[in-house]
């Protein structure tokens, strides 16, 4: 399997000054490239936005049914 072929990338433009700043910032940090760092930061940002979205909720009926089983197993009184 060709490793490079299976990775899919696209190009995003950022100001050259920002690129240079990041390049300096990541020296000695373990990030291999500016792209690696930008990917890391964007994933972090997107995850935190998604986490703020509404939590999954169960219907009252569904929740009661689950609680019945939890009671039967001794997990709740």
């Amino acid at each position: 399997m060709d490793e490079e072929k299976s990775k899919k990338y696209t190009t995003v433009s950022i100001p050259v000054q920002l690129y240079e700043k990041i390049k300096k910032l990541i020296e000695g940090t373990g990030f291999k490239s500016v792209s690696d760092y930008v990917t890391f930061v964007l994933r972090e940002v997107i995850a935190s936005i998604e986490e703020e979205e509404k939590e999954e909720v169960f219907t009252k009926e569904e929740e009661e049914k689950i609680k019945e089983r939890l009671r039967a197993l001794g997990y709740i009184d």
Partner: protein, 387 residues
């Protein structure tokens, strides 16, 4: 991290047939081609169907599989480190005339477990797979040996659960839907998950209790399923935890439930996988210890800590612990951050190897290593280890 996290990928997968549909499905199943699956695969089919493996809805198709090998992410960029695949032989494909687009039935022991809509049939390279997942192609590694024993083609596609797999541990089986309701009912906003394949020694207890000082609740989630020779038997692990919790834990702050899946022994990759599954159960934190999911000397003792740095979007917070030990001078359980005597004669380490040796000889390990109540329960098994 505030509150119970959303399931991995944003939605808890549920692919269980309703009772009404199930009766019809059993009739339909008679007309379809069937393939036999192992007990371990059948258990993982149920994990997919009940959301433990969310966002997976079936066995991986080629793009997801290759993406997981190369980038440790699904094709849509969601973190995922362990390939969940179904193998089949060329002979079976030919004999049964199975092709892409077909619907088939996955059977275990003659019982229909699930429908599977075959989206893709593809080749794979076992050696390449082994090196990517296990970081070695050494056949002495149990995960590599298992990989080499698999059939030569993979089939990917969504499944729908028809029947559950026999479960000797029903009493301790909770699905993500249930743990999420349970944690909410208890009012827990932060929950630390503890993955284990061992009976608890004092080091485990202190790791768990230290995590519990930071969170509202502790979810002890032993992995029950195929393990290697010398690992603790499933029954022994559960009995040991029952007695430990009864005697030494605040009952209202601990939940003990099992995770049914096999150990892969993929070290760092498996640590991420284990964290994802616990996120699906509704945990906010995941305890990562020394040599997590490791075997032999294939991985560095803290390699599983390092890999978490690559996943800022995992959605569950790792809590890293180094080794805990008893210090005679400090008179308590310590770790290298809290005790200045770690390389001195004051230290008693709860060595798994030593505990194993003593138990096999019918001896009680010292109380600084293992609670006497726990040791007693294990000794009652005669041999508490997988043979």
């Amino acid at each position: 991290m505030p509150g119970i996290p959303k399931p991995h990928g944003g939605r808890l997968v549920e692919r269980v047939l309703s009772e009404k549909r199930r009766l019809m499905a059993l009739e339909e199943a008679k007309e379809l081609q069937k393939i036999d699956i192992s007990k371990e695969t059948a258990v993982d089919v149920e994990n997919i169907a009940r959301g433990v493996f969310s966002p997976l809805e079936g066995f991986m198709t080629k793009n997801d599989y290759e993406s997981v090998l190369e980038t440790m992410r699904l094709e849509d960029d969601t973190p995922w480190t362990i390939p969940i695949v179904l193998d089949i032989s060329k002979e079976d494909l030919k004999k049964k005339g199975i092709k892409e687009g077909d619907e088939i039935v996955l059977e275990y022991n003659g019982i229909p477990i699930a429908f599977m809509a075959i989206e893709e049939i593809y080749d794979w390279n076992k050696k390449y797979h082994a090196v990517k997942v296990f970081k070695t192609d050494d056949v002495n590694h149990p995960g590599v040996a298992r990989t080499y024993g698999m059939k030569d083609r993979l089939i990917g596609g969504r499944i729908e659960l028809i029947n559950s797999v026999e479960n000797p541990f029903e009493r301790y089986t909770l699905w993500p839907k249930e743990t999420r309701v349970l944690f909410k009912h208890k009012g827990w906003k932060t929950i630390a998950a503890f993955q284990t394949r061992n009976a608890p020694h004092m080091g485990h207890e202190y790791v768990q209790k230290t995590a519990l000082t930071l969170t509202d609740g502790l979810f002890i989630n032993p992995l029950i399923g195929r393990k290697k020779k010398g690992d603790f038997k499933d029954e022994a692990i559960l009995k040991a935890y029952e007695v430990l919790i009864e005697n030494y834990y605040p009952r209202d702050r601990v939940v003990l439930a099992i995770l049914r899946t096999e150990m892969r022994y993929a070290g760092p990759r498996e640590a991420i996988f284990h964290a994802i599954l616990r996120k699906n159960f509704g945990c906010t934190h995941f305890i990562v210890g020394r040599d997590h999911a490791g075997v032999g000397n294939y991985y560095g003792p803290y390699e599983a800590h390092e890999i978490f740095k690559e996943f800022p979007d995992l959605g569950i917070e790792p809590i890293f612990f180094r080794e805990f030990f008893y210090c005679k001078k400090c008179m308590g359980y310590m770790n290298e951050k809290t005790c200045p005597h770690r390389n001195t004669e004051y230290v008693i380490r709860p060595s798994g190897t030593k505990i194993r040796e003593m138990l096999l000889q019918g001896k009680m390990p010292p109380k600084e290593m293992m609670r006497p109540e726990v040791a007693k329960v294990l000794l009652e098994f005669g041999n508490p280890f997988v043979e």
